[in-house]
């Protein structure tokens, strides 16, 4: 898979499907691989469109050390033949999904930044 040049500098990103639990209601969104994020972040609009129900709260620390709390949601998430049910995510006013280490650590990922491509495996 190729890095997306929609980001500057280009970033590993892919299309993922988010679905409301126990429903066929789903959305396809662009997701950037974010090894710095402890948890996957979805756009706030996905929460509205999928009518997700909050399940908990977490305290989130951002890059500048600011801490705020956010509600979490359980969603089904799939991409490239991988499927994860009931993933706990948070939402933000952001266009794309940030795929955090809660998901990335379940895969073997090879980032070839030099050639702007990457691979995902589940060995």
């Amino acid at each position: 898979m190729n890095y997306s040049s929609e980001y500057s500098p280009p970033a590993p990103s892919l299309k993922i499907k988010l679905a409301r639990p126990f429903s066929d209601h789903s959305l396809e969104l662009q997701a950037k691989l974010d090894t710095g994020a402890d948890m996957t972040v979805i756009p706030q609009r996905a929460v509205s469109e999928l009518r997700l129900i909050p399940a908990s709260r977490v305290s989130v620390t951002s890059f500048d050390g600011q801490r705020i709390w956010r509600y979490t949601y359980f969603v089904n998430l799939s991409f490239n033949g991988f499927e994860y049910k009931m993933v706990e995510v948070i939402s933000a006013q952001h266009r794309d999904v940030l795929l955090g280490r809660d998901i990335l650590n379940r895969l073997k990922i090879i980032l070839d930044g030099k050639n702007l491509n990457f691979s995902l495996f589940d060995p």
């Binding site: 126990f22 974010d34 972040v41 509205s48 009518r51 909050p54 890059f63 933000a92 006013q93």
Partner: protein, 136 residues
Amino acid sequence: MVKTTIEVDDELWRRFSLLVLREKGERKKNEVIVKILKDYVERRGLLVEEQQLEYILRIEEEREAFLKVRDELIRNPVYNGKYVAVFQGKIVGYDEEKERLAETVYKKYGYVPIYIDKVAPGERQVEIPSPELATL
């Protein structure tokens, strides 16, 4: 619309007024304060439609119920360190895996506001250092 009165430190207000005057012009303080309030609510995920707000209020009630018994749960080896689900003020399930617990309780009670949290002191902490989400 609500009209309200707040007490603010003189010096802080003077500096705020100066900044607003410099950046926005005269008679714009109200507009800036409304924007600050809106940003505050938005950043905490509460600038949502009515249905979401309803869910959030129900989750907060369940959370209150969880917080009332949290210390007791921490002392109980059956629950300590595990995830619990709270529905209608009662513990309705627990598991080491939050995903499995969510699946179980939503299957049993439907996809409705059920509070799920870890039995541990304090709030769960996560780091999302991506600068693009500085305004989380």
